[in-house]
């Protein structure tokens, strides 16, 4: 287990949701960076090199699945853990999410404790 | 060559039918009965000479009718 703090990139086009998640992450000792759309997320991922990305699916422009695909195909970010966070909550949506390269698929509205636990676990054990 | 050209122009058909009936007339009784066996045409028996002469003329007529195609068009 590494002593250094883990970095989390939060991506969502709804700033109010990001406010909430940012608080939860920082409270649990993660270093947080935020992005409001797909392109921004890709750019920040390159510079920030997060271990974990919490990714909204339905965003204007490039959607979350596309972001995930590009991340997976980029050497520097191919190993990053991706948590899809979306309002699309059917079983089919979940399966689709996993097939698109997500590690975890959480639906909105999420449970705060669950999100924190999932991120922590991924950070620790991969 | 279009497929239509397989058929003769309508003008030709009466000519050909005419030749057919002309032949029937010339190669039949009573005309052929007119020649007696003691008639000779330059050393040839008359009937013998008549048959092959008419025959040849018919051939020439048929050939001419068939070949006159360009004129019809």
């Amino acid at each position: 287990m590494s002593e250094e703090t883990k970095k989390v990139l939060l991506v969502d086009d709804e700033p109010n949701i990001l406010v909430a998640i940012e608080f939860l992450m920082e409270q649990n000792g993660f270093v947080v960076e935020k992005a409001y759309n797909g392109e921004e997320a890709l750019a920040k991922a390159k510079v920030f090199q997060p271990e974990i990305i919490v990714l909204d699916v339905m965003m204007p422009g490039m959607d979350g699945f596309e972001v995930a695909r590009i991340l997976r195909n980029t050497p520097s970010s191919s190993e990053v853990k991706i948590i899809f966070l979306t309002a699309k909550g059917t079983e089919a949506d979940k399966i689709n999410g996993y097939s698109k390269g997500g590690d975890i698929y959480l639906t909105k509205p999420f449970n705060n404790d669950e999100l924190v636990m999932v991120v922590s676990e991924l950070a620790e054990y991969g | 060559m279009g497929q239509t050209s397989y058929f003769m122009s309508d003008k030709k058909i009466p000519k050909l039918v005419g030749l057919f009936f002309l032949g029937i007339l010339l190669f039949n009784f009573p005309i052929i009965n007119l020649f007696r066996k003691d008639q000779f045409v330059s050393g040839f028996p008359a009937l013998y000479a008549y048959f092959f002469l008419v025959w040849l003329v018919l051939i020439i007529f048929i050939a001419r009718t068939v070949r006159s195609k360009q004129n019809d068009k």
Partner: protein
């Protein structure tokens, strides 16, 4: 000359023939046909001149039939000009339907009738066997005369064992060669280029040989025509040869013989084969129409001189007149010429035998054996087997059978008669086809039943007036009937029916058989109805010109079948290799990919049928295809034929057409309605998803943030305030959404009547737009609002109309250009309407979407906003509100050039 030389020369000659055939076949495979020209075609027609011509003409003339022999050649010469349209028509029909024999032709014309195919085949076989037998007779006797010095081979051949008998061996050798020429492999078109090349060669040889002997007699033995004729004229008896009167032939018989030969030149199975089946270009007929009469003229010109010469040298009948041609050169010790002439006679005989037997074998296998095999279960048992082998074997067996019958006839009948008499028996039998063929070509109402009855009755008369009495005369049966008539009734005497005594037997038979034939044909045809397929075929035959001119669409049947099954059939009957080749060629010319097709269309089925017809006959092909093809009960072609004929049906079909159009209209209406319903259903599902999403998003923030506030009592006041304000805003967002959904319900429910009061629309728009100015300034959007002076009165609900204006303006704000946003508003009034225009400078709306955006649940995703904001209800609500106010709303836009929303509402004066 010794037997060995004669036999050896004959074999070498036949081998040369075979080499020519082989060469021509090889050339044909390279695509360089040596038979594809009118000269070869005309020469192949000369297969008409058989041993009968070669030996028999002289024989007939010398027996003082005089010029009677000429009738056999005058008939073809007279009818030659008519070939140019009759034979051409037959060829075109046969090519389009892949007809391979005269039996196939007649069967096809009368509704692809199996029965007719069988009848024609049987008549042809029975009729032609005597004809083949006289060729055997000619080869047999001519070889005997040539080989006057018997050597070891002669001794061997004179042995008592039947298989060493010369005629039998000749039959065997001819059988083998016929099989080699015509039944080595199966050609779907029954085209044999090698055979035709060999036949053309034989025609040249026999002509040259006959001219050689003619010149030898006239100018070698005598001092030219004049000398020969004057010597002949000295003899009172011999001089009869120059006369018609003295030949004893009456004008009656003369005419009938010409009619018989006219029909023979076209209808004899071998003539039909070379003239029609082997024809490569219908235009060749034109040249052949005068080349062939010329050939006949040349081969006949020396008949009388040779006959005179023969009679002058052999006055006492020590030499049979049929053999003069060969006896004269031998008499003068010119063995080499005799051999040349003998080979000429051999070529005349072999040419006839080979072509006739091949033609008959095609008929027997395709029109006699195949229909029986197909209808019994024999074919089914060997379901997966390649049937092309079976077919070729049937051909071979047929050839053997025909030759065997000819040999038997030769053995017991032919020896008793001169060549010409036997040949004419065949001609009379074949002439029975004439009425049904000519009627079939030019008379649409000729029916299958009429044809069957005509052929059977005509052939029956032939049988009792010529076929049977000839055999009785030869001593095979008791001559009682010939003398006393059938059943002892005197006016049923075979050679003097109805007391018509004293006429030539052939003319007598031809007269009665054709009279009855034509009478029955016409009477029965007029009193029977055609089946549908007969009507179709009658049209195709009689109006072939029409069909070829309209582009060769010969059949328009609505038929369906699995392509695999069609393929399988073709492989079975044509052989796998050649079947594949044929299909490949078809796919290539039509530019279709057969591997991707599951079902065979009508075109493929027709193609398969014509090709199968080539291999197994039209009637058999029809039956075979029936097993895999589903035919619509009323096909188009049948419909068309019926339309041609009955007014009643025209009326009926018009009604049908109307009904079907009505049905079609109804169907398409239903389809449209169904589509709309489906689209609405999808829209509804989308709406639910959208609303759900729109609800979840604010709820997520609210839930998460309130939990944070609840869990973290030590949160700074600042943060707590910030989070709480977010919670409030997001709650408002949910409220708005719910209101909008409720609005929709309200607008849609008819019960919610619009309360209409007099309002000032100018005031309404001004108030609404001023309320938005703050936001516009915040976003840096430039705007240009133009309001007219005074009051614009209208009747309406103030709140609702405000909602509309607000909605359109909000949209404009949302969609106008990001950086240099610009919004124009103009309001004006004409006589009746108040017009409000609000335009932005955003992306614009595609033409196809300009209607759609006013539909319920429709949201356009834009490049700028990506996921649509809002519920997709706004514009629909606007439209509904304006509808309730007797106004309208629409959009004018070009993609990339912004959009202008136009609102019209009636003004109140």
């Amino acid at each position: 000359m010794t037997t060995s030389i004669a036999v050896f020369s004959s074999i070498v000659y036949i081998l040369v023939l075979f080499l020519i055939a082989y060469y021509a076949d090889a050339k044909a495979r390279q695509g360089k046909s040596i038979v594809n020209n009118p000269y070869t075609y005309a020469l192949s027609l000369a297969v008409y001149c058989t041993a009968w011509t070669f030996y028999g003409s002289v024989g007939k003339a010398a027996s003082l039939g005089g010029l009677t022999f000429l009738t056999i050649y005058i008939g073809p010469v007279l009818i030659a000009p008519l070939w140019i349209f009759i034979v051409k028509k037959i060829i075109l029909i046969s090519k389009s339907q892949r007809i391979t024999s005269i039996a196939d032709f007649i069967s096809s014309r009368y509704g692809k009738s199996t029965t007719l195919g069988i009848i024609v085949t049987l008549i042809a076989v029975i009729g032609i066997i005597p004809y083949i037998s006289i060729q055997l007779k000619a080869i047999n006797s001519s070889s005997s005369i040539l080989a006057y010095q018997s050597d070891w081979l002669g001794d061997l051949l004179d042995g008592s064992a039947f298989y060493l008998e010369k005629a039998f061996l000749i039959a065997v050798i001819l059988t083998i060669f016929t099989i080699l020429f015509g039944a080595r492999h199966l050609d779907p078109n029954e085209r044999h280029e090698g055979l035709i090349a060999a036949i053309a060669f034989e025609s040249i040889w026999k002509l040259v040989a006959f001219l050689a002997i003619g010149i030898f007699v006239t100018f070698g033995v005598y001092g030219g025509f004049e000398d020969l004729f004057s010597q002949a004229y000295q003899d009172e008896e011999l001089s009869k040869i120059f006369s018609i009167n003295d030949s004893g032939i009456e004008s009656w018989s003369w005419s009938w013989l010409i009619i018989l030969s006219m029909s023979a030149i076209m209808l004899l199975p071998r003539q039909f084969h070379v003239m029609v089946v082997e024809n490569t270009d219908p235009k060749f007929v034109e040249k052949a129409a005068w080349l062939f009469p010329l050939y006949l003229l040349l081969i006949n010109i020396f008949v009388i001189p040779i006959a005179c010469g023969g009679l002058l040298h052999f006055p006492n009948g020590q030499v049979e007149p049929d053999n003069f041609v060969l006896s004269l050169p031998l008499y003068y010790g010119n063995d080499l010429l005799a051999l040349f002439v003998y080979l000429g006679g051999l070529s005349a005989a072999t040419g006839m035998v080979i072509v006739a037997v091949i033609a008959l074998s095609i008929m027997i296998s395709n029109n006699l054996v195949m229909p029986v095999l197909i209808q019994t279960s024999l074919i089914k048992e060997s379901a997966k087997k390649d049937l092309s082998k079976t077919l070729i074997n049937i051909r071979r067996v047929s050839i053997v059978m025909v030759m065997l019958l000819a040999y038997i006839y030769f053995k017991y009948v032919s020896t008793e008669y001169p060549l010409v008499s036997i040949g004419l028996i065949s001609f009379t039998a074949i002439a029975q086809f004439l009425p049904v063929v000519i009627g079939g070509l030019y008379w649409k109402n000729a029916t299958r039943k009429g044809a069957i009855a005509a052929l059977l009755s005509g052939f029956f008369i032939w049988a009792i007036t010529l076929g049977w009495p000839t055999m009785a005369d030869a001593g095979l049966f008791s001559p009682y009937t010939i003398e006393n008539g059938y059943f002892g009734i005197s006016f049923l005497k075979p050679f003097a029916l109805m007391g018509m005594d004293g006429t030539d037997h052939v003319a007598h038979s031809a007269f009665w058989s054709l009279l009855i034939n034509v009478f029955v044909f016409i009477t029965v045809s007029l009193n029977t109805k055609q089946r549908q397929i007969e009507i179709t075929q009658a049209d195709l035959f009689v109006d072939i010109e029409k069909y070829t001119q309209t582009g060769g669409d010969f059949e328009v049947v609505k038929r369906k079948a699995k392509l695999d099954e069609i393929k399988e059939l073709m492989y079975r009957f044509l052989g796998r290799e050649s079947g594949k080749k044929v299909l490949k060629g078809f796919a290539k010319t039509r530019k279709i990919d057969l591997s991707k097709m599951e079902n065979a269309n009508a075109e493929i089925i027709n193609f398969a049928e014509t090709h199968l017809a080539g291999a197994i006959g039209a009637a058999s092909a029809k039956i075979v295809l029936k097993s895999v093809v589903k035919e619509d009960s009323i096909s188009l072609e049948e419909m068309l034929s019926i339309l041609d004929r009955t007014q009643e049906v025209i009326q009926y079909s018009k009604e049908l057409e109307k009904k079907s159009k009505e049905l079609q209209a109804t169907t398409s209406q239903l389809k449209t309605a169904n589509k709309r319903l489906k689209a609405l259903d999808e829209l509804k599902a989308d709406f639910v998803t959208t609303v759900t999403h729109e609800l979840r998003t604010p709820i997520t923030s609210i839930k998460s943030l309130s939990k944070i506030i609840y869990d973290n009592e030590d949160l700074s006041t600042e943060k707590r305030g910030e989070y709480l304000s977010i919670v409030v805003r997001e709650s408002e967002r949910i409220t708005r959404l719910i209101n909008q959904v409720l609005d929709l319900e309200k607008v849609q429910s008819e019960a919610a009547e619009v309360k209409k009061e007099k309002i000032d629309f100018n005031d309404l728009v001004q108030k609404t737009s001023h309320g938005l100015e703050e936001i516009l300034n915040q976003k840096g959007i430039t705007y240009d609002f133009n309001f007219p002076e005074g009051v614009l009165k209208t009747l309406g609900d103030f709140d609702r109309l405000t909602q509309v204006v607000l909605n359109i303006l909000s949209n404009a704000i949302k969609f106008c250009d990001d950086e240099n946003g610009k919004i124009n508003l103009s309001l004006e009034k004409d006589n009746k309407m108040i017009t409000l225009k609000i335009s932005d400078n955003g992306d614009g709306i595609k033409l196809e979407n300009q209607q759609l955006i006013f539909e319920k649940f429709t949201q356009l995703s834009s490049q700028k906003l990506g996921k649509p904001k809002g519920s997709g209800l706004g514009l629909f609500i606007c439209k509904e509100i304006l509808r309730q106010h007797n106004g309208e709303i629409f959009v004018e836009s070009k993609e990339g050039e912004g959009a202008t929303f136009v609102i019209k509402i009636p003004s109140l004066n």
